[in-house]
């Protein structure tokens, strides 16, 4: 099974060459590549051997697995994910217990340095890493062994990329990202809460086509997916520039699809391709559905960006209700009061001096 190429698999399932090439074009577009690359992608997927992949879950909610499984088209996208010969995935694999762990150990031993590890969920470091144990081993030990011996590790979702929700203040378990837990591993981060499965598929296709992971930014995120700001590609941007904002849920502007800036949209601060490729195979994305972006793919979004519904982040030490404007207004009012008092005192002093003369 593992030694078949993708195309032989597809033709067995009755997928036409036209559908296959359409998929290759879609992948090229997602990766931001020219159409001249399509034959190269097609050749790679036709000829290359399926790489071995293990999918590890640590402190996760399985959201990224759900994202992949949401591929409803029972055609190309889902089948391409079959091309990554998935040897281990706790949520969907058949064996359990020792047999499951054996599958994992076999890949690490027999294909050392050649398999790809996909990691979902953060890794707890506090108290010896006991807050996530699988098969009697801590997550950190598993990560060190599996990611340390992998060709590359793809950290899917914000938890594996940055620590995500478990790492949000006060981070009770000392949760960290894969890169922080295993600094020596080659890690590419695909944040998002959950990751957009199109971005994962495109990253894998890129690897199969070019033999290398796509170009990344300083945070290890592929530029094709995380290089552009959501605010600059949002379909509601003209409403922002015009000054048409939703003020209350369900108001007239909300029904007309106006900008969600005043509802706390973090689009101006977030970098992901949600407006372009959208979710659930291009169906929609949060802003299109009428709710502001909350920066799910940004580092420490739960702490750094303030409340989902606030414009500004919290003032450090002040809590979400004591906003910057409340503090500013308070200080300005105090200054005005101080000035009034000073003026009164000065006036009375001057008058006293005048009276003396």
């Amino acid at each position: 099974m593992q030694d078949e190429s993708l195309f032989s698999d597809l033709s067995k399932r009755g997928i036409s060459r036209r559908d296959f090439l359409t998929f290759c074009s879609t992948m090229a577009a997602t990766l931001g590549l020219q159409s001249t690359v399509v034959p190269q992608i097609a050749e790679a997927l036709e000829k290359k051997q399926k790489p071995y992949v293990v999918w590890l879950e640590f402190q996760d909610c399985a959201g990224d697995s759900e994202s992949i499984l949401r591929s409803t088209k029972p055609t190309i996208a889902q089948l391409v994910l079959d091309v990554i010969s998935l040897e281990y995935h706790e949520t969907i694999m058949a064996p359990s217990g020792k047999n499951a762990e054996k599958s994992l150990a076999d890949v690490v031993k027999n294909h050392k340095g050649k398999y790809i590890a996909i990691v979902e969920g953060s890794i707890p470091m506090k108290d010896g890493g006991v807050y996530c144990c699988i098969g009697g081993k801590t997550a950190i030990d598993m990560a060190k062994e599996v990611c340390g011996n992998a060709l590359a590790t793809i950290a899917v979702g914000s938890c594996a990329s940055y620590g995500g929700i478990p790492a949000a203040a006060p981070n009770p378990t000392g949760a960290v990202s894969v890169k922080q837990a295993v600094p020596n591993a080659t890690v590419i981060n695909l944040p998002g809460c959950p990751v957009n499965c199109e971005n994962l598929t495109a990253t894998v296709v890129h690897y199969l086509t070019f033999g290398a992971l796509p170009q990344c930014d300083k945070e290890g995120r592929p530029l094709f997916a995380y290089g552009k700001r959501i605010h600059d590609n949002c379909e509601r941007r003209p409403h922002f520039d015009a000054g048409q904002f939703v003020r209350k849920w369900g108001d007239d502007g909300h029904r007309k699809g106006w900008c969600l800036y005043e509802m706390g949209c973090k689009g101006p601060q977030s970098y992901m391709n949600c407006p372009t490729i959208r979710w659930n195979e291009g169906t929609s994305w949060p802003v299109m559905a009428g709710h502001g972006c909350f920066g799910c793919g940004q580092p420490q979004n739960w702490d750094a960006l303030g409340s989902i519904y606030s414009r500004l982040p919290n003032v450090p030490g002040a809590g979400y209700q004591t906003t910057a404007d409340k503090i500013g207004l308070g200080v300005a009012a105090a200054a005005a009061a101080g000035v009034a008092v000073h003026a009164a005192v000065r006036a009375s002093k001057c008058k006293a001096e005048e009276d003396k003369k």
Binding site: D217, K218, E219, R221, Y226, G227, R229, D232, P238, H239, F240, D241, A242, G243, Q244, F245, R247, G253, Y261, E262, K266, P268, Q269, S270, Y271, G295, Q298, P299, N301, A304, L305, G306, R311, L312, P313, V315, A324, D325, I327, G328, L329, V331, A332, A335, A336, V339, H342, A343, V345, R346, K349, C350
Partner: protein
């Protein structure tokens, strides 16, 4: 015997008014950008777009005004120089303490000097520092819409590396606006206060450059 002293040269007065106009524009538009207080009536409006445009142009003006004034610290007359801002001599320190004591009602008279009081000097210096941080944070945020390059990096882009949210930068930018508003309240009051106490034509001096010094 009262005499007219030429205190504030043209670059000092010009940059002052450029700063005043740009800061007023920056505050009015800045408030809107953070909290849109006008709702557009049609798609053809360009309210946020115009507010942002005015904000950016005013930001450039403030940056230029500040740059020119900083140059004038080293090129201007004795009332414009850096030693009028940072108290580096005994005399300036005495002026600073004397002025502060008068403002706090601890003394009945203040030091009389044609240029900045010692307190004005250091508060203006602190204000310039705030302006520099405001300009850097502002251009840092603006740089998110631009593709790097040495100009944008130096003007503030280094604060917001590509891909980062810059939310701390936004908060600082907003808080400094409040600092400037608080400063404005104090500044306008003290200027009127000193004009009335010292009777030296302080209010007119920022227009025509002259103060009336000597016995009254």
């Amino acid at each position: 015997m009262a005499n007219k002293e030429y205190v504030w040269e043209v670059p000092v007065r010009l940059t002052h008014w450029v700063n005043v106009l740009s800061i007023l524009a920056l505050i009015i538009t800045g408030f809107y950008i953070a909290n849109p207080y006008i709702l557009a009536s049609s798609e053809t409006s360009m309210i946020m777009g115009s507010m942002r445009f005015i904000h950016f142009v005013s930001g450039y003006l403030l940056a230029v005004g500040l740059f020119v004034r900083i140059y004038w610290w080293f090129a201007g007359n004795k009332y414009a120089r850096l030693d009028q801002f940072l108290p580096m001599s005994d005399e300036r320190c005495k002026n600073l303490t004397g002025t502060t004591q008068f403002y706090c009602f601890m003394k009945n008279d203040m030091p009389h000097y044609a240029g900045h009081t010692g307190l004005a000097g250091i508060t203006y210096f602190a204000l310039f520092v705030l302006f520099i941080v405001e300009i850097q944070t502002g251009f840092g945020l603006y740089a998110q819409s631009h593709d790097g390059g040495i100009f944008w990096t130096l003007m503030g882009g280094w604060l917001v590396p590509a891909g980062s949210s810059g939310s701390g930068v936004r908060l600082v930018h907003h808080l400094i606006m409040w600092c400037v508003i608080v400063y404005l309240i104090a500044h306008i009051y003290i200027v009127i206060h000193n004009h009335l106490i010292e009777k030296n034509g302080l209010l007119m001096s920022i227009f025509n450059g002259y103060k009336t010094m000597g016995d009254k």
